[in-house]
Symmetry: C2
Subunit: 139 residues, 2 copies
Amino acid sequence: MTTTAAQQRARQRQAYDAYLAECPARQLLNRIADKWVTLVLTALADGPRRYGELSRTIAGVSQKMLTQTLRGLERDGLLTRTVTASVPVRVDYELTALGRSLLPVVASIKAWAESHIEQVRSARVEYDQAGPDRPGRPS
Amino acid sequence: MTTTAAQQRARQRQAYDAYLAECPARQLLNRIADKWVTLVLTALADGPRRYGELSRTIAGVSQKMLTQTLRGLERDGLLTRTVTASVPVRVDYELTALGRSLLPVVASIKAWAESHIEQVRSARVEYDQAGPDRPGRPS
DNA sequence: CGGAATCCTTTCCGATACTG
DNA sequence: CAGTATCGGAAAGGATTCCG
């Protein structure tokens, strides 16, 4: 896979392109196109939330994944982490301006999933019934 | 995993909620909040594409992941697969109406990643510099 | 050309135990 | 309360080989 000078110039013009495997945009896409990221960001839509609140809101998330996701989002500048040194300690998470710019996008994914699940389920039933012997199906 | 009649009724009332671990919407979210799904759907934005075209457009995707993603999207009713029996065989993929309804959403994620990568990268630099000894960082 | 099938490595992720 | 650290199983995903 060689790249011509013309392709190089084309890339400069269009800046970042997620279709290119080596592009940083591809890696960022990989990070934000994530279930936990979507749920965490939308859970912070209405303002700051404590760790425990997030944990309860996002049912079934393990503490490991929640912490890991929060750290990643903090590092990427999408949310802030504020520690209040009390007993017991209190930690609040809040979206940054950058995080809020992503919010409508991930919120629309979540909304789409919730509003189209019925159609998807019936499509699956139809697909599975149509040909029990199809490409991709074992035995 | 048994569900009581009360739980069934509760689900009917609140429809689907991706925050609930058991909810089908959570699983659907898990499927569509995916790097390959985003790239495949956006690659089909301008009309039908052949398998080989998709493979070249989405640089770095393995044949296994591409086929697997396409099969999943076909089963979920987001795209159609059309085989033309020639030599060699020709296979085209095209978005369905359902798939097109998801398209603007995933396109906006891809666009966000491409347009905000700079801000995210500088946020990472700042985070990493600020405290080389921070929560989550080894030694 | 457009896959399927197999093998094998990497990464994800949950469970558990411990800490300030 | 809000984590960290570690371990092991499960799943994702790449490379390779073969096929209609």
